[in-house]
Symmetry: C2
Amino acid sequence: MTSDKLIHARNFSHLFSDEARRRKPSPIKTTMAYFQDPEVVFLGAGMPPSEIFPLKAMSIEVPRPPFVGGLARCEDTMVGTLSREQKDLTFDKDVPLARALQYGNSRGQSELLNFLKEHTRLFHHIPYKDWDIITTTGSTQSWDASLRIFCNKGDTVLLEEYTYSSSVEAAEAQGLNCVPMAMDDEGIIPEKLENLLENWTGVYPGTPMPKLLYTIPTGQNPTGCTLSDNRKPYIYSLAQKYDMIIIEDEPYYFLQMDPYCPQDQREAATNAEAKSNEAFIRSLSRSFLELDIDGRVVRLDSVSKTFAPGCRLGWIVGSRHLLDTYWNLHEVSIQSTCGFAQSIISGILNRWGQCGYVDWLKGLRQEYTLKRNWCLDHCHKYLPSKVVTVPPVSAGMFFMLHVDASKHPEFQTTFQGNKALLERYIYEKCVAAGVLLACGSWFKVKSPTSGVEKVNDNTTMSFRGTYASVPPDAMVKGLSILGETLKKEFKLI
Amino acid sequence: MTSDKLIHARNFSHLFSDEARRRKPSPIKTTMAYFQDPEVVFLGAGMPPSEIFPLKAMSIEVPRPPFVGGLARCEDTMVGTLSREQKDLTFDKDVPLARALQYGNSRGQSELLNFLKEHTRLFHHIPYKDWDIITTTGSTQSWDASLRIFCNKGDTVLLEEYTYSSSVEAAEAQGLNCVPMAMDDEGIIPEKLENLLENWTGVYPGTPMPKLLYTIPTGQNPTGCTLSDNRKPYIYSLAQKYDMIIIEDEPYYFLQMDPYCPQDQREAATNAEAKSNEAFIRSLSRSFLELDIDGRVVRLDSVSKTFAPGCRLGWIVGSRHLLDTYWNLHEVSIQSTCGFAQSIISGILNRWGQCGYVDWLKGLRQEYTLKRNWCLDHCHKYLPSKVVTVPPVSAGMFFMLHVDASKHPEFQTTFQGNKALLERYIYEKCVAAGVLLACGSWFKVKSPTSGVEKVNDNTTMSFRGTYASVPPDAMVKGLSILGETLKKEFKLI
C-alpha cells in the first residue's frame, strides 16, 4: 500500500468475455460531449422534456441522527424536500428530480457517487489510484453483469462450497462451470484452494482454470461464517498467481456484530453504541480491496441490508478500467439505477452526512446483535446438543444448524445412509410441525465432475435459518418446535 | 379474435435459448409458499426487518387531472402521502413502503400490475386468455432480457433497416446476426420481408433463419415513421409461417399526434384535447398484440416517455408462459423493479385513475403535436427544399432529414461518390456552425454478409433530429444554422 497513491490498476482486458470485447463505442454516444454545450443547439438525443415530468416535488420523512436508543425505537424524524429544479433545491447536495429522472448519468448521479466514494475511503484504504464507483440495481444484478463481462460459456467460476443459490443459478444458466472451494468456520481454506489450483487438471480434467473467484466474505450466505482477515492475503496471492478476478460480494458487511457469548456471561447491553466511529471502523473485517495492488478485485456493495432491498440500489467498487466495461453493458441493459432511488438515497445520506450514516450502521450492528443473541440463546435452550451443533455467528442474517445424520436411528436402514434423503425428510417434518428452515443442500455447489463429491463428504446435514426479520416470540416458538421435532425424530424423548 | 376469450397462448419453449432452458426452479423459492402462512414460523428467507427501513413516509406532489390548458402550464397539483405500513395508508390502493421496499414480488406490486392490466385492456383487445404483465427496469432491459431468453450465440434477429442503435449493439455484442428489414415511410415493407424470408438461404447463406422480429412500430427511432396498421396482419402471418417471436417495442406509442399540415392550413389549436377518451383511443395505431392469436407477441411498454426515463420502470405484456421465463431471469439479475418507482408510479396512476391517465396522455399528444408543428414549420422555412426532404412525422420524438448527396457539387470528386464520407463531413460542418443532429448511418443495421448492402443503397443520406426537449427559440436557431450550412455546402447561395 502506498500513501502517495501513485500505483495504477493493471489492465485485465485479457480476461474479458467475447461479449464484452464485442461492445464497441457507439457513435451516438460521442454526441453527448456537446450536450449542454452553449455553442451548439443540440438536436442529437431523444430526451423527453423535463418540464412535463409529473413530479413537482417529493418529500421524505426519515429518522434523524444520532439514533439514540436503537433504530427500531427511533422516533425523532426529519423531513427533506426533493425539488424538481436545481434553483428550487432546499438542500444544495440534492439531486434535482429533473436530472435524476432524465436520461444520462448511467454511472450514477454525482451527489450520490461522491458520498459513496467518501464512504468507501472511510472504510477501505485502496492501494491504487484509479478506482471508481458505478451504481447498479443491486448486487444480484452486479453479479449477473460480472458474469457477462468476464465469462464465456464453458468458463469456470470458483464459489464457496456453500453459497447463495441464486449466484450459482445465474452462472450455471450461462453455461459456466461452478467449482466449490472448501471452507470451514473461518471461510475459504486457502491451503485447500491452493492444492486445488495446483492439481487442477487432475481434479477437473477438461474444465478450464477459473477466471473468477466469487466470495461472500462477511456473514456468508448460507453459513453465516466470516472469512478470516488472516486468510485474505493468501487467497489474494492465489488470485495473482492464477490470474483470477476476485468478486467480493459484501451485502452483509455492515451486519457484523459483537462476538456471541452465552447469556449468563454477557454484559447487560452490547457496547457497539458506545464505540467511537473510529473504533467501530477498526472492528470490521478488512476487505480484499485493501490488498488489491493489481486492481483485480471487484467489490459489490448495496443498501439492500443497510436500508432496504426494494431500493434496488447497489454499487461496484473497482478499477476505472473494469468499471467502464460495466458501464458499456449497463447502457444496453439496465441503462441506470432508478432515479427515484438515487435521489432519495442520496437525499438521506447527504442529509445525515458520513457521521450520521456511520451512526446508523452502528445502530444496525446493535439491532442485529440483539436479534442474533436472542436466536442463539434459544437455539441453545431448545435444540438437542447431542445431535445439533450451532456455530456462533458474528455477521449477517443467517445461522446454520449442523445435524449429525448418523445419529438418526434409521439413518442406515430407512434412509440407506443417504443424508440428502434424511435432510429432506427432516425438512418436511419441521414444516408439518410448524417451522421452516432452508435445507443446507440447496446452497451446496455441485462439482462439475458429475457424481464425484470433491469436498466435505461426511454425515453432517445442515439447515439454514434467519433471525433478521423474525419477531422475538415467533423465534421462540419456531426454535421450540424445531427442538421438539428433532428430539422426536432422533428418538431423544 | 374471440369475445369469450377461450383461446390459450401456444407454448413457444422450443424457441428458448440454452440459457433459458438451463434455468431450473430453485428449491429455496418453493419455500415462499409458506411465507406469511400463519401455521408456519418462517425462518426460511433472509429478509431485513422492515420496521427499521429508514423511510417513515414519503409524499409526492403531482399535477391534478384534468390537465386543462396543457401539461407544461398545469399549476393545479395534488399531494399524496405514501405510508410505510398498510394500516397507515392514506389511500387504499397505495403500495405500503414496507412491502415495496422488501424482497419478494419480483413480477411487480399488485396495485401497479392491476392498474397496468386495466390500462392494457383499455387500449388493446388481446385475443387470448392467459396474457399477463411483468414489470422491468425499462424497455432497454426488456430487450436485453428478450435476447437472453430467446437467442443463442449465432442466432438471427430481424430489425428495421434503421433502428435504435442500442438495440443493435446489445444483439451484436451477444454474438447475434442482425438482419435489416427494408422499410419506407409506412415502416416495414411486408412484401420485401416475405421475399427475404422465402429466399433466405440465397441471400444469407449460412445464417440461421431469424427467431425474433424486432420492431418499433410507432414513431420509430430514428426515422419517426409509423408502421401502417394495414401491414401488420401480413407481417404477423409471416411471423407465424416462419415461427418467429415479434418483439413490439412501443416507447413512443402515446406520442402519436394529429397529422401534420402546413401552418397556413392548420386550425388555431390541435383538436386532441377536445376528443373524447373513446375517440382518442380509436385514433391510435393498433398493436400486434391485437392480432396475436398464438401468443407470440412480446410488447415492451414503459413510462420513460409518458412520465420520465429515470423512473426505470417498464413492463412487458405477453403470454404468462413466456413471462414466467422473464421472471426466472429477473430473479437472478435485476430481481425486481425499484420499489420507490413502483410505489410512486402506482401512487400517481391509481390516484389519477384510468380516466385521469388517459387525460394525461391526451395532454402529451397535444404537447408533442405543438413541438412537432413548430419543428416542421421551421424545417420548411429554413431548409433548402432542392436538396432536403422532410417526411411529415406523426409520432415519436424524432424527425428525419433526407439529403440528396448526389446534388453536392463535390460528391463525385472530393467525396468519390461515397455518401458516408459526405454525411460525416456535413455532420462536422453543422457542429462547427452550432447545430448537432445525429447521422442516419449510425442507426443503419449492417447486413451480416460483409461488404454487401442488401437494402436501399442509393444516394440519400439522412440526419436525425429531435424536437422533444428543444425549447422553441433554440429550435429556430438550430434549424436556421442547419439551413445556412446546407445552402453553403451545396452551393445554393
